[in-house]
Symmetry: C2
Amino acid sequence: VSLDRLIAPRSIVVVGASPDLAKLPGRPLAYLERFGFAGTVYAVNPKYDRIGPYRCFPSVDALPESVDLALILLPAPAVAEALEACGRKGIPFAISIASGFAEAGDHARQAELLAICRRYGIRLVGPNCVGMLVPEGAVTATFSTELGRAMPRTGSIALVTQSGALGNALLQGVNSFGLGLRAWISTGNEADLGLLDFLEYFTGDPHTDVIALFTEGLRDGAKLVPLLRRARAAGKALVALRAGRSEAGRGASASHTGKLAGAFRVWSGLARQGGLIEVDSLDEMLDVLRAFQALGPPSIDETASLGVLTVSGGLGVVIADRAAEYGLALPRFGVETMSTLRELLPPQMSVANPVDTALFTSADGYARCAELVLGDPAVRVLVLVISSLSHRYDELAPWLRQLGESARALGKSLAATYLSSTDQLAPATQIELLEAGLLALPSAERTVAAIGRWVTARKADDALDAPAAMPGASGRDMLAAAGIPQPRQKVCISLLDATAYAETIGYPVALKVASPDILHKTEVGGVRIGLADADALRRGWAEMEQSLKAKAPHARIEGFQVQEMVTDAVELIVGCSRDPEFGPVLMIGWGGIYTEVLEDVAFLALPATWTEIERALSGLRVSKLIDGVRGLPAADREAAVDAIARLGAIFVAEGLSELDVNPLLLRPRSAGVVAVDVLAIQAP
Amino acid sequence: VSLDRLIAPRSIVVVGASPDLAKLPGRPLAYLERFGFAGTVYAVNPKYDRIGPYRCFPSVDALPESVDLALILLPAPAVAEALEACGRKGIPFAISIASGFAEAGDHARQAELLAICRRYGIRLVGPNCVGMLVPEGAVTATFSTELGRAMPRTGSIALVTQSGALGNALLQGVNSFGLGLRAWISTGNEADLGLLDFLEYFTGDPHTDVIALFTEGLRDGAKLVPLLRRARAAGKALVALRAGRSEAGRGASASHTGKLAGAFRVWSGLARQGGLIEVDSLDEMLDVLRAFQALGPPSIDETASLGVLTVSGGLGVVIADRAAEYGLALPRFGVETMSTLRELLPPQMSVANPVDTALFTSADGYARCAELVLGDPAVRVLVLVISSLSHRYDELAPWLRQLGESARALGKSLAATYLSSTDQLAPATQIELLEAGLLALPSAERTVAAIGRWVTARKADDALDAPAAMPGASGRDMLAAAGIPQPRQKVCISLLDATAYAETIGYPVALKVASPDILHKTEVGGVRIGLADADALRRGWAEMEQSLKAKAPHARIEGFQVQEMVTDAVELIVGCSRDPEFGPVLMIGWGGIYTEVLEDVAFLALPATWTEIERALSGLRVSKLIDGVRGLPAADREAAVDAIARLGAIFVAEGLSELDVNPLLLRPRSAGVVAVDVLAIQAP
């Protein structure tokens, strides 16, 4: 079902409307009138015939016709009945704002709403939400008090939030900074429609450039990465703030993967995988949205190299530090730029990027420096640091607007920031300049961070390569069937047998007790590694027999397993598990016995593409080891990525609940990998 | 020399003063007059007899008497002559603002100033600085335009900055937020007096509670940690912002320590060691200063446990996340608090901390909830999230002031923050409330961060234990003389000799070629480890002979070294080097061949105390290994700390330029340590 008629309804009924503007149920009708919603509006309230300019009916059933959207303002106990009436009337979309459902522990009452929705085919927003707002067409299906201040401008930012109050806070920010909204939706308890439904909708919406999300936890989280991929492929920029980093509710787990899979770590991994810009606070969210509105969508080869003009050498250093953190270049200026700057600046000032004009230079001199740096071919974004200590802000605004136009003509961008965040341009001036394409954030640090995040929304250019299809297989042979090499090994029942087999596979070998009664082999002396020759194997065999007699006298011994040993290999851990929120996830990390101390791991949603796996692996510390350090040879990265992709595919195809390979040994380049220890747990 | 007469001069001469208020040299005299400096003021300028109310003389020599402080406003070429005249006149302190010295490459001109200072015993601030300001007594020895706006309040914050422009920006913040200043000093090029001189001075100043620093790089950085320790011991809180994280100018280094010692990493380590609160931006600096001013100095057992009242559940989660990050508790409320909250709040709202009153609760209900949470015994700081969507800000201010008084009476503190940073209390109200002890920061994230940083300034309670004194020693015997065990080893010239020695020390052993011509033994096959018995040793010997014949045919072989092997040990790296900025530093890290990939290292200034070493070690990932993970035994942490302290002492006592021990092997608890490979480089 398309959500077109929810976002752009031709007619709305407000159920439980009130003429009292001081109260919450009075607001939505008043907003619809004030901002000029052009469609049909009805009110429902048995006490009135008319509210303001709108006809009022005693019940939904009494309406003269169906409508596109019902905004239900009634308290929790009355919502089900009203929704039922909407269903009878054939109304396709409803919003319920009432609290007192799942968030208060009453899951049954919420389930009742969903059942009614399913019965009639209604799509519901809420309950326990603040409603929805679409500036284009003045669709004010909300009681947000922020609309008492002003209606946001129409624009291309779709803002979807699970928290109503934070949604309101974001709306305050949107108005304060003059951001343009495509839509603002508070999803509340998400009995029916959730955050991801709107992510999907706005992905297909041509009026949306940026989708901004606030989430405390996702239902159907397994759909997140596929939806993010589609949104990025459609050229949408994605920004999200996540709350709820605590680990409660994730329970204990037997596998390494489970132990390392904290909610926030998994979320961050998946966000990176899906090309989503993660922010840490509402202010950072608004900073990034302002960057998108000022600078437009980044082009596919966006460099965001900064040319910086500052009135403080110290702040120039701060900017250079931050730029390096975000991977932004401060390029060397061309010879022409430098020599003209040399003429403009006092002899003691440097003409290198960032250029410090100090507080002494005249306004005119500063302007000429700015135009010069903006014109330098290596500069993509001109960052100006201003201060009322050295500039007259009232004179600055018209000049900045003009400079913004020059920048646009050159295909470049302009950012202004302040020596001190307590010394900003007036809010109205900031809004005016934002329209002229100028980003004006409170501090240099925030400016560089916002540009650094903005540039990561370059349209993704990688093909969505699919992982290899997996042959069906089951049990212990899964890895073999999937073509993932395991060490050669054999359970031997005599020393003669063992030495003969070791001769075949070559030394060194490992010797491990094979017994259904022994879970932790090391603790009973049931593991010997690095046996270098027949002598060592013989001695190991004898010592193991002795140790087992002493420490596990009653265990049934099936034999001793002789296993090929791979030396000089890089150890990875690869694990798959089912995250309670995000569904099947894949973990890649530095393996071996220190895995949990190193915590050098990354998470991806499954199925993951080859490119995503390669990228996640490259982001780990162990990647340097794979490249070869300190005289060690480079390891077989390609074989590793291939094996990891296969393991992920096995996990999905077999419907396992956990799958750990630790270690996955990477031999030198072109020599492949070996999966040494495998733990596979079938779903119950 | 005490700086008392610089900070509180009884008389000032302004050299190069001007009656033109529009120009820089006109400002200081005007400020002295306007803000009522009570001491004697003279001006020097051959063109005038009088400037404003002050007598003006043609030269410093012509002054009727000496003064405490000369503020020299002349350009660079004229400064030396004026300073010379100050010297003749017996003036003890001078400030030069002129640029055109070392910062512009003219080191000779700056050296000339210093020579004059030394000759006459003058202490100089600058050149290339903005001057100095002490609100108490209205000492306005500066041309900062910010004083055109207002004079900061008198208070207990001493602000010392190397950057003039950022110093101005901080001054703007100080005025905007109503912070109280002990003094504000811009040190500029630091020809004579530097940042650390003022750190030392304010450590001994009874009017100073907080010392805030902005630095781009320290001269005499080796004094930093000793000075920080003294300041902390004197109960001062320390806050600093550092710019210049880039690695340029540190040069290449042969040792591990040198390679890992990036300027910023070393700075951060030393800041932690000295108990300094590190901030990342000017805004964070001002947030922390506001926290100190509102909450006062933290007590020795400060818990900063937060009781949170929010109008948004989502923001409650954000606050809980951040509190966890900063180690702040959100304690469980007492039964009484919970039951009364239950009566006040709608039944669907939770009464657990953080309490969400949503946007619906009445102002009166909100106030009663706030008083209740503030009164709960487990709560130290009440954090209120407010919003103009649910509160009337004009009514809120008097109530907040009253609540602040209640908090003070209980020995508690109060912080208010906003749903949206674009919806703050008016600046004047914020200043007024700050005086009443209320911290009001723009966002919940910044509030938690500021409180989290504030609490770390708890007065240090650890005794300054000194490292053990070191016996003098030299060359290869240094470690032995210092009592640090090394593996037993012997250079053997025959296989018979080798097997006999191995028998004595016990297998497994390592075999390493001993040759003055072979630097990298591994590359020519000159290292065999894990030789488990006589057979293996024999084979290893033969293979090594062969390999050397092929790969190093011309090397002089002195023999093969048989070395004891320690297994199951935790590997540390310990390194000492001379940092170009901070002097002798000690690095502790996870050792072995992956050291540079793991980058699990911490830096301390030398000499370091036992407690500081223990704390730095505990902050590393490898510390978990030392505690024993995955069935491995806990390692000898005490012996490690002791050995590290001794290595640091050797380095200092012997005046080495580099000292690396890698690995330092930690045996199981009580079994001590072994320093395997030692690299010591004598200072040239």
